[in-house]
């Protein structure tokens, strides 16, 4: 197996300063929000890598940097050996970009209501000048819709069907990697099952690689081959699903797993996690999880933990064992 995607030291800092005049009047400096901080991971070809974490942990920001919607402030994204930020040959960059597509959470907002399904699906190919004849019909069939649906408008479809249309559009340019940002979060369990099954089938049939972004741990466990857990823009733990769910190493991963409701958790009483995610503009010193961590000691307040191997996992924690 070879790494299809290699992410190294990936960092994204947003300038969230107020306008210049306000800063002068209020005597404030510039403010920066580090949404993603020094993240490393690799995605093997034909596997699903899942990024989990709570709101604001930087999942979507990583996804957007991968597909090129956002420029990293620092670090590298390498896809099939081509470094997207440093590669000089624009043709090479374009050919890599064409192999990556993204699908979003909201199947309602991401489809233009005035376009017919055929035009929505073939749009990515249109800009690349490919062959459009019968393409929409073929893709619709591939995602389990009817070829005649090509002539309809998005409002004529249910949420699950719209997400299928989004998937068909993502498939149009024959991508190798699809970044799926909360693909089923807006859907019912019954519709979610259809979309997840479709994603698995397409992965097998077309040899796709997925970066799956979600906060739903049950979906992650069902789909992922490898999982990265993010907290405040940092990757705190990475492992295969079995190790992560059976023997979580990082106290944050343990907290997340304990807090997640379980379908077989009848009458389960666990003390809920303490505290909230801190303000990302002024994150805590050292390990950013230390204010909520039950085992934090002095060193956790002082030093950012390096990532190290503990059992089958990579963990950024001073104390994990």
């Amino acid at each position: 197996m070879s790494a299809f995607v290699t992410v190294k030291g990936l960092t994204c800092v947003f300038d969230v300063s107020k306008p210049w005049l306000n800063r002068v009047l209020e005597r404030r400096g510039k403010a920066f929000l580090t949404a993603v901080s020094d993240v490393d991971f690799q995605v093997e070809e034909r596997t699903t890598y899942a990024l989990v974490g709570e709101s604001g942990s930087g999942k979507s920001t990583i996804g957007r940097m991968l597909v090129g919607l956002l420029r990293p402030s620092d670090g590298d994204v390498e896809i099939e050996g081509i470094n997207l930020a440093r590669e000089e040959d624009p043709a090479k960059v374009a050919s890599v970009r064409a192999k990556i597509q993204m699908i979003f959470q909201d199947p309602y907002a991401s489809l233009n209501p005035r376009w017919r399904v055929r035009d929505i699906i073939t749009e990515p190919v249109l800009t690349q000048g490919g062959d459009l004849e019968g393409l929409a019909e073929k893709l619709l069939q591939q995602v389990g819709l009817h070829p005649s649906d090509a002539g309809k408008f998005p409002h004529e479809f249910s949420g699950g069907q719209r997400q299928r249309i989004c998937i068909a559009r993502a498939l149009a340019s024959q991508p190798r990697l699809i970044v799926c940002d909360e693909p089923t979060s807006a859907l019912d369990v019954s519709v979610q099952a259809q979309v997840l099954n479709l994603m698995s089938d397409l992965k097998d049939e077309l040899g796709l690689t997925y970066l799956l972004i979600t906060h739903d741990l049950t979906v992650v466990r069902h789909m992922a081959d490898r999982i990265g857990v993010l907290y405040l823009g940092r990757l705190v733990e990475e492992a295969d699903p079995h190790s992560l769910f059976e023997t979580p190493k990082h106290p944050y991963t343990q907290m997340l797993l304990d807090a997640a409701p379980r379908v077989d958790g009848f009458g389960r009483e666990v003390p809920p996690p303490q505290g909230e995610i801190p303000d990302p503009i002024n994150p805590p010193s050292g390990c950013t999880f230390h204010p909520r961590c039950p085992i934090a000691t002095d060193i956790c307040r002082r030093e950012r933990p390096a990532t190290r191997k503990v059992g089958n996992a990579l963990v950024a924690c001073h104390l994990a064992e």
Partner: protein
């Protein structure tokens, strides 16, 4: 057994539309006892919110209650009009919605909102209300309640706001709280905090809670009993463990099977074929029959048995047996 806090019988809601009258809630009956949490689940559009809104008297025109009865603490409330509904709503029924901002006034400090609500419904002075507001915020776990009482809604995080809404819903000491997707927009860790708070209030104050959600995990952990809705009707109603682990209605079974289970790695998820019918295209007989793997001739025509009279939990002519559901 004591009387239930809430009791609805054959509740129907109708909406006149251009193409005819549709029934988003059609003959629903259930009770909620003191200190009990009733979970309400079902796919999007099943009528969960519509039933909740009908109980609170918050249906948007042209939707209206077209049949059935709603009883609260032994009083019939669906026949009340105007001002009396509003009073009852604030005093006896508390509400928590998915988006906390819909329940909070952005221009009033949270202390003032709590105090106003208490003074409207309880015979207490402003000073007393102020003290109780602090106590209410403490109770829902807002750190530094006394200092934060003058803060405005936008100064709180999403999870904190939802706590304030819960404090607001509870401050007039209602006997029933209707929580419609209270944690859907929140993170897992905050969700766990809010659910644990609701359970605690239910236990300590004996408040009856109706908890509407999509999340089977939340239902399993929080609810005592669960009502499964499908296309405006009650498909199954019973103790949460029984319904979730040994569903009798094929729809409940389908829902459970399509939920990815944390404990086991299934290769494929079960799919319920098709989709819930549109309200203006409701099939004859059992509304689920076009999607049901066990449907027989009777299901296509005969009107459904009511849950209670069928002698079981499920509104189904051929309920699944315990072994078959495995």
């Amino acid at each position: 057994m004591t009387d239930p806090v809430l009791s609805i019988r054959d509740l129907c809601v109708e909406i006149p539309t251009r193409t005819g009258v549709v029934k988003p809630v059609d003959g629903v009956s259930y009770d909620i006892a003191k200190g009990e949490i009733l979970g309400v689940v079902g796919e999007s559009g099943a009528g969960k919110s519509m039933a909740g809104n009908a109980i609170i008297g918050l249906l948007n025109r042209p939707a209206h209650i077209s049949g059935g009865e709603i009883w609260l603490n032994g009083h019939r409330i669906d026949t009340l009009k105007g001002d009396r509904v509003r009073r009852l709503r604030g005093k006896e029924i508390g509400m928590v919605f998915q988006d906390p901002l819909t329940s909070l006034n952005p221009l009033l400090s949270i202390g003032d909102q709590l105090a106003e609500t208490m003074m409207t419904h309880l015979p207490i002075s402003r000073a007393e209300a102020h003290n109780r507001a602090i106590a209410a915020l403490k109770e829902v776990g807002i750190p530094g309640a006394a200092e934060r009482i003058g803060s405005y809604p936008h100064e709180f995080s999403g999870g904190m706001r939802q706590r304030v809404v819960i404090a607001l819903a509870l401050c007039a000491e209602p006997s029933l709280v209707i929580a419609d997707e209270p944690t859907t927009a929140l993170d897992v860790s905050v969700q766990a905090q809010i659910i644990s708070l609701l359970k605690q209030l239910c236990r300590e104050r004996g408040t009856a809670i109706m908890l509407i959600t999509h999340d089977m995990g939340v239902i399993a952990e929080a609810a005592d009993r669960v009502a499964v809705m499908y296309a405006g009707r009650l498909a199954e109603l019973g103790p949460v463990r029984d319904v979730l682990t040994q569903p009798q209605h094929p729809y409940t079974h389908g829902l459970m099977a399509s939920t990815p289970l944390a404990a086991q790695k299934q290769r494929r998820l079960h799919q319920i074929p098709g989709a819930m019918p549109r309200l203006d295209q409701m099939p004859e007989g059992c509304a689920f029959h076009p999607r049901c793997p066990h449907a027989q001739e009777k299901c296509r025509h005969a009107p459904l048995p009511a849950t209670a009279t069928a002698g079981g939990r499920a509104a189904c002519w051929f309920p699944l047996l315990a072994e078959a559901a495995q």
